[in-house]
Symmetry: C2
Subunit: 319 residues, 2 copies
């Protein structure tokens, strides 16, 4: 295996895109300039091989998804991405080609969002690979979107389409039958390469009363808003926007509705607002309303309240 | 194993010490206020069980050392600690007592440096445990200490005593003979519970021309300063400050001088300065000078240049 300093110099230093703050990854830490009237937002996500990504996942997809999920967390706060640090534990014997492809997967976000690598740590592990990414963004001081501001009378919205991530994981595992190759590929692509709604999040600052990105599952994540805001969130399953591929999957197997509602990995935004929101990088669809009370209730296709077996993904309990 | 949300609520939320920025660990991200005239500094370190800490290390020591090494990185930049995020991958079946002790180990730093937990991620892994910590600090804008400013004519200093970390690891592994129990315990304690020189680092802002914390080993870390500054660093081994315990170990086995020079894990500061520095939380000792040229040269006890087998710890090559 290549030398640690070599790997940093060859594959990761270019991801700083020459940002002075990163000191070319040669220093103990990166410095991040601050702007008057803005505050920094910081979020950390960790993923483990075989737990959060498939054993044989392609390195560029692992990196792309990890970085995308952190950008999604920034989007949920309404923050503009500034840069990130990466902790990477490579398996012993990991080749340079793997590491190079991983860096390429990060590089797409670096370019798309002017989101340079600022620093980090690379180590080896005798166990499964693990990566942790900390993303830093900025938002107007005091204006960060949180989960805690939803009020009775607000409308509940989601961006994009829901359920593609969970259905894509099933398809990638070979557990989703009866779909055309094109639909299956679309869903797998949505699982592997999410589209964080960064511009939508930024455009919701000052409008949305509460916001979250859908990573655990729509129902569980709306539950976080309900709990933090002390309200009840009521949604209707037939209002939930589905992609053409997800609709095809649901027609083939109506029991997949629960997967769509609770499966996670969508990286769309769910938010509440009294005012009509401006559209950013994805369509915004009304799926319900906020009332007094607690928890999340879902009205199913038959007009009755649905009983969901699972509230969403919980890393300790398993899927 | 306990539920992820439960663990966060019970053991980690108290580590926010009520800091508003952390939103009680209930949100997607933390917000960090900025101050006019200051910039933020960010650093990430990762550790793997069996690689960076002993298989059976006590959880409070694992946490204490991880957090201490990140504080040491902030110290090396001259930054005041603001807060941190943690990514923790627990082994399947890790008990609540372990996690509670780990949180206790973090808590000491939280209190000592007003350094709250701001967010993070907890996951499980089928492999060895791994932790990654991202520390955020602040420093006057444009004043962060770096490795790149050493100039010929500067004096080379270190804080505290050198070599205790590497000797302590040998002692903890049972590979250091001929020491009194008291000396062995002292060295083990210095390895397990380093003292990041936060106030020394802050007091060097505006004085030191280059600064680094000694994690890879004194010679290798001075080599980073030499490379980043484009200078040669010349030190004398008999100037290097040693603890009473390290002196005893060296008397018993003079070949340990190389371990002291290259062994790492000291978490003291090494820096260069033209002016006499102010003393912070540790004594400061002159060990050499900066000249034109490149690399690090060490004059040994016999007055001759030492030939060192190892430049320090390299995670990919092993110790």
């Amino acid at each position: 295996m290549a030398d640690e300093f070599d790997i940093i110099h060859r594959y990761f230093a270019p991801l700083t895109r020459g940002d002075k703050a990163a000191f070319g990854l040669t220093d103990d830490a990166a410095s991040i300039p601050t702007r008057a009237g803005f505050e920094h937002v910081v979020t950390t996500d960790a993923i483990v091989q075989g737990v959060h990504f498939l054993e044989d996942e392609r390195p560029e997809n692992i990196a792309h998804r990890l970085c995308g999920s952190n950008l999604s967390d920034l989007a949920a706060m309404g923050a503009r991405p500034l840069g990130f640090t990466l902790a990477a534990a490579w398996q012993k014997g990991t080749g340079a080609a793997f590491i190079e492809a991983f860096a390429t997967g990060l590089g797409e976000w670096v370019d798309d969002f002017d989101f340079p690598l600022l620093g980090g740590d690379t180590v080896t592990t005798p166990g499964p690979m693990m990566f942790s990414l900390t993303a830093i963004g900025e938002v107007e001081a005091g204006k960060a979107l949180t989960r805690g501001g939803a009020k009775p009378g607000d409308t509940v919205y989601v961006s994009g389409t829901i359920g593609d991530g969970a259905l894509g994981l099933l398809a990638a595992q070979g557990n989703l039958d009866g779909l055309s190759d094109k639909d299956a590929d679309y869903l797998k692509g949505r699982f592997r390469r999410p589209s964080p709604r960064v511009s939508t999040g930024a455009s919701l600052v000052g409008t949305a009363s509460a916001c979250i990105d859908i990573s655990d599952g729509l129902v569980q994540d709306l539950g976080h808003i309900a709990a933090a805001s002390g309200v009840s969130v009521r949604i209707k399953s037939d209002r939930i926007p589905l992609s053409k591929a997800a609709r095809a999957a649901l027609e083939a197997d109506p029991s997949l509705l629960e997967t769509i509602l609770t499966g996670g990995d969508d990286y769309e935004l769910a938010f509440t607002s009294l005012e009509e929101p401006e559209v950013g990088d994805a369509p915004l669809i009304v799926i319900g309303e906020v009332t007094e009370g607690a928890g999340v209730s879902v009205t199913g296709p038959d007009g009755e309240a649905m009983q969901l077996r699972s509230g969403g993904f919980n890393h300790f309990a398993g899927t």
